[in-house]
Subunit: 446 residues, 2 copies
């Protein structure tokens, strides 16, 4: 292994040679960007950078690119096994064959750049270890928050500080839908359908609107922010499907904006990770992040608050992150300093306890649809009281929806476990109809 | 020189040794941060990091630090000439002796970390060249926007893209004063006096409130963003003293917030740089940056909009940037890859024409204090018309101030040179009193 490691460290003569696997949307953006800024990129790298081969299963589709004959091949093995190639860009996504190709590239001494957060969520540990063993780099800036250089920021920009909490708007589709609902007073289903028509949401939108994508990103962000292991299956995720126009307008009335937030906090030896719709003060800087934009808002011990804002998806924004990683990998090859920074910023990850969601202490917004008859509020209040939940505000506006009226309750800080018990009991009341909507409130983002 | 260069590249055995020159506010923060996070920093650097000497002219002042005997010395030469020291942190500010000390450190093969933007504005070119010659690094993240890692973002995060424009709120004092004026309806003088009492503004506030500090930062940011030479003396700067409560409330009525912006744009072979109060749409994300916070809002060709937000000054925020640079310099020494990235991101700076302010095309807000008599508006309009300036909105509210009423005009896009001519002519009208307030409007930040 050590001999191979040494082999990997030999500096190339002439330009750095790059192979690209996967010529889909992002891949096409990467080719365009490399061409458009070739002169500047060559200058920055010092000895030039050449895209020498592209592999994709589809050799015929037009992509608005004119590719020289022979550049595009079908077999990705022709990239990972080519001794001429220094850096491999992996943009096919998914677990396999992505992982095997990345492993093969690393084992041939090539640095890798990827946007594949699913692969990193599942196989990251193994691949980062492998890269370290073989003395190569893995760049993955594009895997989280697209064009926002949040991985560099966490890994190097804030390397001297200790992060306390992270609030991310990291799913552009959900943020777009929520923003439209709030700005235009429309319902979820309607805005989703329109977003699908406009190509801003997938035909099956669950990955985005149910918080799954945000949970993937949060697992990676929390590792980078706190240097702790965060297994994906320990990140509870709740999406935005359950929210209606009624909730958004009551939120506004209470002084809040609703965002799908990916939240991670480090308190002592514990960390807290969760994805869910959250009410945040409407004048807070992260509340002004609307449309398809992403943002990561951090609290750090010495720095205090900071925020990083930009487009988290899309062909060209994501391509900028991929190519920035290629430039960094190329500089490392030229200088012989692969592995300069640990992949996740910390050389070893801490084992911190992940606090179960039931132990969360939060304020809550509750919308209970109840029959408009005397004594209902008394029943509800008494259940909340028995569960140690005290009420901060009650709004009852008599907007009748199917015979029932919304009772809006804003609680003081309560334990999630207690709240769940209370919600179950209230749901069972005779005068209560349907599902109770529950949104966590974050008043102190800092 | 080449022998010395080689000497500089030898990797140290044992921990990296750091010397600190200047134990003022930021220096004290640096010592605190290095101590507080020592274990993590040692792990990140790999072979440990030790602060082995501090130089300051004042050996007696208590700084809330307990320093081991002999650590603090008076003579900074004992740091720059000590062959044991690998990295020198320069925090004394000003031009001399800072520059001579930094040169001496570089020439002894030491990497340098500095927060001294005045020194870099004047001697940056020489010092960066010198560092390259001697194979060492100069880290200067702390010199612009304090704890916001904007230099890393511009130099590496966005290295694949082409930046088009930059809008910075980079002076915390001015932003604090404007925010308080807008939120509380108070006047400049009153808020300034209070900020001075609270230690948020200097006794002589001109460096901050007259845009000088912002111009220094803009010169550096524009170089990093566009790779072009931007001599400090070519950056026109106008501060916030001329703004009154009247202007802020009219701005709000027109849908704007007023911010002191540092603006740089690259259009073709020209760049535009300027610092001045600017009206921006009040729902724009950068309009929500209030209090002492800083933010840099960028438009880039492929990425689109992005923004970087945080505290631009203060002991601990600035210290985080200094120590992050120290960690990066230490990693480079260990890996032997000093000079991995050109100091300003681009190896060579382009020579772009700097567009004179007179050639600016902008929309303008004008406040003209005029006697409330018939025909005044006609006179004003006719002067504007003769100078090719067309009016978008006129507000006349009859709020009498010293016998005159404010006439508020929002123009369509006009040439600055034409506007200046018109303003001079209007000022000369018999029925016009005092100075005309003129604020540029930026409607399309993207």
């Amino acid at each position: 292994m050590s001999a191979r490691r040494e082999a990997a460290r030999q500096k190339p003569s002439g330009p750095i040679k790059v192979g690209l696997i996967g010529l889909g949307t992002i891949g096409t953006g990467v080719v365009k960007l490399l061409r458009r800024n070739q002169r500047t990129i060559d200058e920055k790298v010092g000895c030039g950078l050449r895209l020498v081969r592209i592999a994709d299963l589809d050799l015929t589709r037009g992509r608005g690119l004119r590719l020289p004959a022979g550049l595009l091949v079908r077999d990705a093995r022709r990239i990972v096994s080519d001794p001429e190639i220094d850096i491999v860009i992996e943009l096919i996504g998914g677990l396999e064959p992505a992982r095997s190709l990345v492993r093969a590239a690393i084992e041939s001494g090539k640095s890798v750049v990827t946007a594949n957060k699913a692969m990193l969520a599942v196989h990251g540990k193994e691949l980062f270890h492998e890269a370290r063993e073989f003395g190569v780099d893995i760049g993955f800036e594009a895997s989280v928050a697209g064009g926002i250089p949040i991985i560099r920021v966490l890994r190097e920009g804030l390397s001297a500080d200790r992060n306390l909490s992270l609030y991310g708007i990291v799913n552009g589709t959900s943020n777009y839908i929520l923003s439209r609902m709030q700005e235009e007073g429309r319902e979820f289903g309607e805005v989703l359908a329109e977003a699908q028509k406009r190509g801003l949401a997938e035909a099956d939108p669950s990955y985005d609107v149910d918080g799954v994508d945000a949970a993937h990103k949060l697992a990676l962000l929390a590792r980078l922010a706190f240097g702790a292991e965060v297994p994906l299956e320990r990140v509870p995720a709740e999406g935005i499907r359950g929210l209606s126009q009624t909730d958004l307008s009551f939120a506004a009335e209470l002084g809040y904006t609703v965002k799908l937030l990916a939240i991670a906090k480090n308190v002592g030896e514990e960390i807290e990770v969760r994805v869910h719709p959250t009410m945040i003060p409407k004048h807070h800087v992260i509340a002004s992040v609307s449309g398809a934009y992403n943002a990561i808002y951090l609290q750090s011990e010495a720095l205090g608050s900071s925020m990083y804002f930009g487009l988290g998806a899309g062909m060209m924004p994501t391509a900028t992150a991929v190519v920035a990683d290629v430039i960094e990998a190329a500089r490392a090859i030229i200088k012989g300093c692969q592995g300069r920074v640990p992949a996740l910023g910390f050389p070893n990850s801490k084992r911190l306890r992940i606090k179960p969601l039931g132990e969360l202490r939060s304020e809550y917004y509750l919308r209970i649809m109840a029959m408009d008859r005397p004594g209902v509020l008394a029943e509800i209040s008494s259940i909340l009281g028995r569960n140690d939940i005290s009420i901060a505000t009650v709004l009852q506006k008599g907007r009748k929806i199917g015979g029932a009226v919304p009772v809006i309750i804003r609680t003081h800080e309560a334990l999630e476990r207690d709240l769940n018990r209370a919600v179950r009991a209230i749901t069972g009341l005779k005068s209560v109809r349907g599902r109770i909507v529950r949104v966590r409130i974050e008043d102190n983002l800092g």
